[in-house]
């Protein structure tokens, strides 16, 4: 303890301005708390990775890539071709405008709710205090009644491919490109690698996606990874599964594949091998809490790690997804404000803006069997949908996982056009405890992709219409 340090009293301290942190600040303010939000980047950091360098800018890039790609595809279907070059500078201007609009929107919501925003790096110093390191002034000591920790995560770096920002890039760097490379290797075939790799391929970059597991998008099941790989290869991207990078000489990567050693000449290397929770440098030791496996904090259903500190988002167990963090933020704000609250969802949908799109919610068949259900699956192929034909996009299928005895749906996996939008109907069905009959009996409008959910339910009930009766 330094003599003369005088902590300022804070009622509710929120650390981190991402989707978890700013939602926690707003929810706390609504519960009558006086909120201070600290973010290392201050107002510029509001919205976190999601708004600034993640979900939102990547979707902007994917929209551009899809438009470019579709323009060529639609040439054979009558679309006139303007024949100009891709203008990445114009793209960046458009993307930045979206980011600053959303970032400004969050700032406006927070200030309107009376939330004070502080800029600086926060570390705990005692169970009820912390220090904000500032570049423009002396450190600021805060003593809080309650604290919600939402420090998020950062991309994992590979020791053999340290990021340099010019040739070895992370996802953030890729989204800021103002010129396209001729070729790119994407290390990691999870959702981030697949999304970036697909976008670059559609923009005409010669892409190689390298994944250590035997398929892309490991863990989702339903051959999602294989279908995505099929489409990527059709765009002349190369998909190298069961492959790891073992070396780099500054121009050429050395790859270890199942058949031997190979070399790959690429202009840029994108490392997208996962994310690391930001729990290693927040002074957790002074609070008396330790992290578990992979640096994650273990929390109960009320999200509390101590009586006065809650943790939400990427620093806790579960998928590192913006919407999970936001949902946890409400629970943390309530639990720390004297209300009974629990985070107990049956579903946290995950969506991949790949081609075809992939989305999953609730249990997969393997999860369901492991949980003790007598479960089965029912699938309806996208190729049997009229709407898919008019979208000229018929790869994929809609799958339900359900309890055999009651027909209650336990989860869904959707691969195909608009899967990312369709998945929420499935989530509501699972959360509400709907059964296959409820879904099949709900009239779905024609012609839409949503019909595949009702059609797959009919398959599960043994009364399929637009596919032959399953054996």
């Amino acid at each position: 303890m330094v003599v003369g340090e005088m902590p300022e009293g804070v009622d509710m301290l929120v650390v981190g301005g991402g989707p978890g942190g700013y939602t926690a600040a707003l929810a706390s303010a609504r519960l009558g708390r006086k909120v201070v939000l600290v973010d290392a980047d201050g107002p510029a950091g509001l919205g976190g990775v999601c708004v600034n360098v993640g979900c939102i800018p990547s979707k902007a890039l994917i929209e551009l890539a899809t438009s470019v790609h579709d323009r060529a595809e639609w040439a054979t279907r009558g679309l006139p071709q303007p024949g100009t070059q891709i203008d990445m500078v114009a793209f960046q201007a458009w993307k930045s405008a979206i980011v600053s609009k959303l970032n400004g929107g969050v700032r406006n919501l927070l200030t309107t709710a009376g939330v004070e925003i502080h800029t600086g790096y926060f570390r705990f110093s005692r169970p009820d205090q912390g220090v904000v390191e500032r570049s423009d002034g002396p450190p600021r000591h805060l003593q809080f009644t309650s604290c919600i920790l939402a420090t998020g995560s950062r991309p994992v770096q590979l020791a053999i491919l340290p990021r340099d920002g010019t040739r070895i890039l992370d996802s953030t760097d890729v989204l800021a490109l103002t010129a396209l490379p001729r070729s790119a290797a994407v290390i990691g075939g999870g959702y981030i690698g697949v999304e970036l790799g697909t976008a670059l391929a559609k923009l005409g970059v010669e892409v190689s996606i390298i994944e250590a597991e035997p398929s892309l998008l490991p863990g989702i099941g339903c051959q999602a990874g294989d279908l995505v790989a099929k489409r990527l290869r059709a765009m002349t991207a190369s998909v190298l599964t069961s492959t790891t990078v073992t070396g780099d000489d500054g121009h050429r990567l050395t790859l270890e594949t199942s058949t031997g050693t190979e070399h790959l000449d690429v202009e840029i290397v994108v490392v997208a091998v996962g994310r690391l929770p930001n729990t290693d440098d927040v002074g957790l030791d002074t609070v008396g809490i330790t992290t578990g496996a992979r640096g994650l904090l273990s929390v109960g259903p009320d999200r509390l790690v101590t009586k006065r500190i809650a943790a939400i988002g990427d620093i806790t167990d579960g998928p590192a997804l913006a919407h999970k963090a936001s949902a946890e933020a409400h629970v943390a704000a309530e639990a720390l404000s004297g209300h009974r609250a629990e985070f107990n969802p049956l579903t946290i949908a995950a969506v991949v803006f790949s081609d075809p799109e992939v989305a999953t919610t609730g249990l997969t068949i393997d999860d369901a069997i492991a949980a003790g259900y007598t479960a089965d699956t029912a699938a309806f192929p996208v190729a049997a949908s009229g709407r898919a034909q008019t979208l000229a996009d018929d790869l994929g299928a809609t799958h339900w996982t359900f309890d055999k005895e009651s027909g209650v749906v336990l989860g869904a996996q959707i691969i195909g056009p608009h899967a990312t939008e369709l998945i929420s109907e499935a989530s509501i069905a699972v959360e509400m405890g709907a059964n296959l009959e409820d879904i099949a009996s709900t009239i779905h409008p024609h012609p839409t992709m949503s019909e595949t959910l009702a059609e797959a339910a009919l398959v599960g009930l043994g009364r399929p219409i637009h596919v032959s009766r399953r054996r």
Binding site: M1, V3, M6, P7, E8, G9, V10, R126, P127, D128, Q143, G288, I289, G292, A293, T306, K307, H339, R340, A341, E342, N344, P345, L346, A370, A371, G372, Y373, T374, E405, S406, V408, E431, M432, G433, N435
Partner: protein, 373 residues
Amino acid sequence: MPDVGEGIAEAEVVQWLVAAGDAVTEDQAVVVVETDKSQVELPSPFAGTVADLHADVGDIVKVGAILISVHTGVDAPAANTSPTAHGQPQRRLASPSTRRLAVTLGVDLAAVTATGPHGRVQADDVRAAAEAPQETPATHRKALQDTVITLRGLRRQIAKSMTQSLQIPHVTEFREIDASALLTARTILKARIEGDGIRLSVLPFLVKATARALTRHPSFNATYDAEREEITQYGAVNIGIATATDDGLIVPTVREVDRLTLREVAVEIDRVAELARTRSASPDQLGGAGFTVTNFGSFGTWLGTPIIRHPEVAIAGFGRIRDQVIPVDGQPAVRPVLPIVVAADHRINDGAHLAALVGDIAEALQQPLLLLD
């Protein structure tokens, strides 16, 4: 049972976090044990499948004894070969709003009688369960039955250490002082210090005055080893703060009190008391005190006889400050009066030494400006 440090030879098993047949990863926490007043999670040194647990909850395990066996071989049964009964998952059908209602009303969904289709729990079912009488006549009868409680955990530790304290021949002195100046000092500093979000009770003054007296009488800032007939007098003034927690009495330590300002003592007492109350203090945050202060006045108690914590050699207790009629300049006057009690180990210090210590504590509390010295 690994060595958890601080010379602790044994620990009590509080909770198993795994069962036989569970898969464990290296460093996964498998058991919670309670050592001398702190709870520690112990990690598995291996990855594999739990073959056997060698202690029950409540057992005392010596350092070096076997706690758990883990199959690490490839022939170990896989984790998912011990499935739950087929078709009997734990889930109750209920919509998110109904589940939220159950949490809000404190109702366990599993215990609710469901009236919806497919055994679905409806919102009204949850409300009915919440309104159902909680106490039946049967539970009233039960309340009349006698209960045998086995001493476990912290309670057992307290019982053990209090029995050790019984060997100490206590000599106890009492004194009352006029606390007017003390309360004035606190009022002046409180406005300033609490403006910074720090709570300022009289306790930091009591601790600070005690620390000042201990620097003048080091024979009380000590521990005594009766077997070796040795007294250890401490260079630093580290004071234990008796803290009531939900589980029982815990005494965390404020270190080097003589080097801290009053404000810092206030902050530090709050910090270590919070560590104690959340049971998150490590053994080294609890040990190392040469003297203990107990503020039983905070419970409203006028006077008590504190018990010395073995192996320490003295303890100071402070009663509730209350208005009394006392003579001032030959006239009756109403003044706030603070009772001071100090107990000492008579083997180490005599009544005359003790009177000198108590006198110095009293002096600084009657004239708090001396704390600036």
